[in-house]
């Protein structure tokens, strides 16, 4: 399976709360990082727990998943308690085809800086 197929299976298992299938996609020593908060989780078991314990009534839907043999990126639409968030992840596989590293980003809305109104439209 390519990295994009693995990441597709990862989001499918996550969405289904199928933590056994989710965990099988991860390396034992998977490292999960949130560069914005500088939080890091090491190891399959705590990382599965992090997801299983995630609070709120949430769901998700992939918008894009793209990658090559060993690397992939995903863009998901994440809804929780009626709000919508954007999740962007970069994934690296190990030699066994398991997810060894995840960098996860959660960009939020902001006001555009002035000076480019002549080039942009708002949607």
């Amino acid at each position: 399976m390519t990295a994009a197929e693995i990441v597709s299976a990862y989001w499918k298992a996550c969405r289904a709360r199928d933590w056994a299938a989710f965990g099988e996609l991860l390396a034992d020593d998977v490292v999960y990082e949130l560069p914005q908060t500088r939080e890091r989780i090491r190891g399959r078991e705590p990382y599965v727990r992090f997801n299983a314990e995630y609070p709120g009534d949430w769901d998700l839907e992939p918008v894009r998943i793209t990658g090559d043999a060993r690397h992939a990126a995903s863009w998901i639409r994440f809804t929780v308690d009626g709000g919508e968030q954007t999740g962007l992840g970069f994934f690296d596989l190990d030699d066994a085809g398991r997810i060894a590293h995840i960098s996860d980003f959660w960009p939020v809305p902001y006001e555009p800086p002035p000076g480019r109104e002549h080039l942009v439209e708002r949607y």
Copy 2:
């Protein structure tokens, strides 16, 4: 060229301010979107101008570029006037192998929510 190779050339041309080479990688009707501000630019010429006019003393370095034949994603480290930002982009090519659509995200640091201290370390 794969989409990842096109995106690699895109960042190389951007960094070099080689706006002719940069423009050649874009479809005539390229659409650039910033989902966080809901800004959109349509067309090669305004989109090249947007980049060429971007204010400040900036530089960039790709951290990851991954993709398949028609789609790619990149993660860049962007420095401007001494500050560092993270840029994440999703790219779609058209049939001619030119960049037809870009979704660009700029996540910023935030404080982690409470309740997961038992699983995470800070770095």
